[in-house]
Symmetry: D2
Subunit: 345 residues, 4 copies
Amino acid sequence: MGASGYSGEELVRLLLRHPQVELTAITSRQYAGQTLAGVFPKFAHFPQAAALCFCEPNAERLAQLAQIVFLALPHGVAVEFAAPLLRLGCRVIDLSADFRLRNAERYQEFYGQEHPAPDLLERAVYGLPEVYREAVKKASLVASPGCYPTSILLPLLPLVRDGLIRTDDVIADSLSGVSGAGRKAELEYLFVECNESVRPYGVPKHRHLSEIEQELSLAAGKPVIIQFTPHLIPVNRGILTTLYLTPEPPARETAAQARFMEQVAHAYRSVYANEPFVRMLEGKALPDTKNVVGTNLIEFAWRLDPRTGRLLVMSAIDNIVKGASGQAVQSLNLMCGFAESTGLL
Amino acid sequence: MGASGYSGEELVRLLLRHPQVELTAITSRQYAGQTLAGVFPKFAHFPQAAALCFCEPNAERLAQLAQIVFLALPHGVAVEFAAPLLRLGCRVIDLSADFRLRNAERYQEFYGQEHPAPDLLERAVYGLPEVYREAVKKASLVASPGCYPTSILLPLLPLVRDGLIRTDDVIADSLSGVSGAGRKAELEYLFVECNESVRPYGVPKHRHLSEIEQELSLAAGKPVIIQFTPHLIPVNRGILTTLYLTPEPPARETAAQARFMEQVAHAYRSVYANEPFVRMLEGKALPDTKNVVGTNLIEFAWRLDPRTGRLLVMSAIDNIVKGASGQAVQSLNLMCGFAESTGLL
Amino acid sequence: MGASGYSGEELVRLLLRHPQVELTAITSRQYAGQTLAGVFPKFAHFPQAAALCFCEPNAERLAQLAQIVFLALPHGVAVEFAAPLLRLGCRVIDLSADFRLRNAERYQEFYGQEHPAPDLLERAVYGLPEVYREAVKKASLVASPGCYPTSILLPLLPLVRDGLIRTDDVIADSLSGVSGAGRKAELEYLFVECNESVRPYGVPKHRHLSEIEQELSLAAGKPVIIQFTPHLIPVNRGILTTLYLTPEPPARETAAQARFMEQVAHAYRSVYANEPFVRMLEGKALPDTKNVVGTNLIEFAWRLDPRTGRLLVMSAIDNIVKGASGQAVQSLNLMCGFAESTGLL
Amino acid sequence: MGASGYSGEELVRLLLRHPQVELTAITSRQYAGQTLAGVFPKFAHFPQAAALCFCEPNAERLAQLAQIVFLALPHGVAVEFAAPLLRLGCRVIDLSADFRLRNAERYQEFYGQEHPAPDLLERAVYGLPEVYREAVKKASLVASPGCYPTSILLPLLPLVRDGLIRTDDVIADSLSGVSGAGRKAELEYLFVECNESVRPYGVPKHRHLSEIEQELSLAAGKPVIIQFTPHLIPVNRGILTTLYLTPEPPARETAAQARFMEQVAHAYRSVYANEPFVRMLEGKALPDTKNVVGTNLIEFAWRLDPRTGRLLVMSAIDNIVKGASGQAVQSLNLMCGFAESTGLL
């Protein structure tokens, strides 16, 4: 549902190429009645694209056509369709923010409206497979994480879980490509306004903080509040995050720093060594969005600054793939018992 | 001298348009003997460009032709020409790093070679006019600041001077356009390698730290070490810096935060209210490199995050103008008694 | 009038910096009541920008405030203001298409509406100073040319006038930056839709054909129809045009080709040798938009292909400066008796 | 062989993902001894990438390791390896220009050196599967076409074969992304030199003319010479070609034009209706490189200009996929009896 935005379009691309999926319906109010090939000539070479028509969003109809429904709808709209779809027996993978928070008050604080279906919140699984793999497999409702949270949580959670860093001194500085703003006709996202431009935005309380801090708090066993600053940069896709962290206890001397770095490497390797979509850069390389764009991978590197004693962790993802549609398909694979990387390599 | 790099080229453009300057010589080993109009057709419509030839670098010759010499040469090379030029009576504005540090050991630590003329260091004035205006006016040797330092020091110094922030907890996260790397034929700066790419580099000890920390230490009256991470982003020009700062004393409650913000505004206004090239964004606007590219301005905004108690300061400059050639011309104007913004608006 | 589009904004920038102009009023329905500095922080360092407010468009009011009025309004709207402004004694420089055509039927054919003030058409002077300099000086109504026409006519007219090429075999292939589409919130001009994209559009009958063919026909003394294909490319500014032309008579042999090229060079030099904003590239260089962006120059080069006998002429301009606002200021300078390049170098 | 350039790298990506291919060796003088994962972290998640090492180019060694060898080497170098590899029993797919021309003199004219193995020329098959499918299947030596030729020949050949256009009046105006220049550390391909720049180059006799005219001449049954102008535009990938053609006989009246357009549509449909990688845009859509980048498709549209009687055909490809590596894999699939689109969707 909602196949005409950037995440929806990428989802369609991934599902058309997925060897074990049959894409049976796509919805879009704007394009209802038109074929996929007509609206997106870029898909015209897929045999299904000539036959598949966009239809109006209708839960009953979709429940007859599909076992699993992806919601690539705005927050506040997704929730309206999730409830009936679940009732009708579909499993739902929601790419919006509607089911990412366990706490309805937190939703209201950050999204400015009462949550319309708070009872569904506890049923939802936060769709970060590297963290909630087993729960995703059995989930009927997956809340696929936001793009910034994915880029921040994957490199941060192992350190928080192992108690290696101070949780009251976390800074996440993120740079996002323009597709993150969605396919919306607004002046500030025109080519001329974004090209040859770099700017911060949403300072200081971006909505994604709610899910980031929720997951960090769960990992830490205590409330965590962090600093997070997003910036808009002139690329189509990609998020680069730089994390500024403080070792706990402080690591001032060379020996303590070396020991700390061993612990960090161990924390990462022990959880990510066999993850198909996590690339730890342990040599000299630093992350670069161009190495992950178009893939479902996150890559990250870490450095200790001997002069300040701070730990820097830098990560890169494709905001539309690992940060949205690819990660949603990763959850689909888990839910259906397919190999986790099916259709994603 | 060194008119074929990006800073040199911009300097030529500024000087050709400067109503009180006569550009009498330009040097370039690579282009010696060719006319300016021939090498840079973009300058061909300036009457002087057809007659002006690039010449070999030669201090004696230049001293006969000019009263003031700009050095847009690599560090380590600039110093070789500065000494004879000064001896021959020229005033010198150096855009390299050779005279920015007061301490020769510090130079060696960060630039990896012994300083060849340490006696000249105390004669040099750090060419940040907003800080050293009076000294620049009388200087015979101006060390024009680096691009990152300019974007960091201007918004940071007033806070440090007034003791408003902790100097042991300063993080500067900077994003630079590719011209910052210079006109060098290296694979990593090819269009295809930079376009659709965002990446950190030089982590964790970038050379510009040396001058940033020198100036902060002078302002603080004690040694200051900061965290600084540069990133490369796909724009031709522009630096965006985000500073993460901690109020001193901490400002946790609303009232304390409001008071702190008044002090910050006061600190800024009292030094920058009448600066021709400093734009404080006091409304809702946040800085954007596209608003300063092609100008000698720095614009910056600041926000206190009530949830973390941290102060965020965000600045934008054109790395080649305010971050290099424009600032050098600003110094020239001061040295010659011209109105400070002559040729720069 | 209409100071919030890309041409209007550039016009404001040029007029603020113009040493002989006082900008007394700017209009914008959208921003009426707000200051220039507030809407465009990038102008905040000009002293006038804090005081100057956008006002509602009102001919009477403007006639009291100004001697010359620029119209940077959509076609069809400009004409509504031109008539009363002229009646009230203002001289008008119109950047829209409303007065570029001498023939009202031709306007209707290409712009799809009846011309509301056909009597004004003969009063208007086509504001291409290199062609109509004397008429511009005395004009009360200047119709400033379109961007594509400027890039095509300047290199083409001398050849047509001298009868050097066949006028029934002219192909103009043009590439334009996205600012040419104006500051309009439309999906197809979003960053993500334009970046990493190249596409033709408006095939085969673009509106600019009407003025191009009018001027070519006048120069040829007979009706001329040409082929013109615009393309959209991911740069902010710039138009590159490649003209495919056939010598008349055909130049098949080496000697004839050499003679023809002498005639071409002579045709160009005799009209453009002393033009301040025309740069003929007579060496090996080919035009590049980056050499003219931000300037009021057109640069062009020409080559004869010995294998096909065709003449190629390639030109580059900044679509917003020489293609719009700069050229309008050039007309202003002529109308007021200022040096033609005042405020434009 | 030659796996470190842009085509080589894309070839590696396609072959790693190809379900029926085992990539057994990669060569690179520069990276010999290093692993694929080490040199290109972007491939590190492929299991083979950790084990596969770049080796020195050595025909004997490769002949032991592989049945089919791709040459992604510069012209003049490819030929040195093709001969021994063929002798040793390998089948060779060459992405360089070394075997594209049937005539050794023509090679010398355009490539400036004598062809070192003219006897191999007649053995080579020009690897445009849509034209030479049956020959490719049986070929031992495939000369994969250049990027511009692919974008020009596929939409042009059916018209030439059917005698629908004049072959002495063909103009091809092409726009290419910067990857077309290869991964070479040259000043003119630096980010800052290409970004915000558009420029023609290689005027008027680009090397690709040799193979374009060879294939057109074969289709026409007589010598064909065309006009071809390449331009460099700031995108990583993509070629957009605009062809200006003249109907034969001329189609001046409406009825004749309608009839001509039916013939054109018929010519295209009869050869391309079932081609997996050819997308004819028959509705309102015009080609856009962003719709083909990352795919092996060519898309094209055509329009008759009723005012001039000319036919415009516009095509878009990814220069590195359909214009190089993808097309080479398409040939591989044919040579090995795999489904033609294996690994390419």
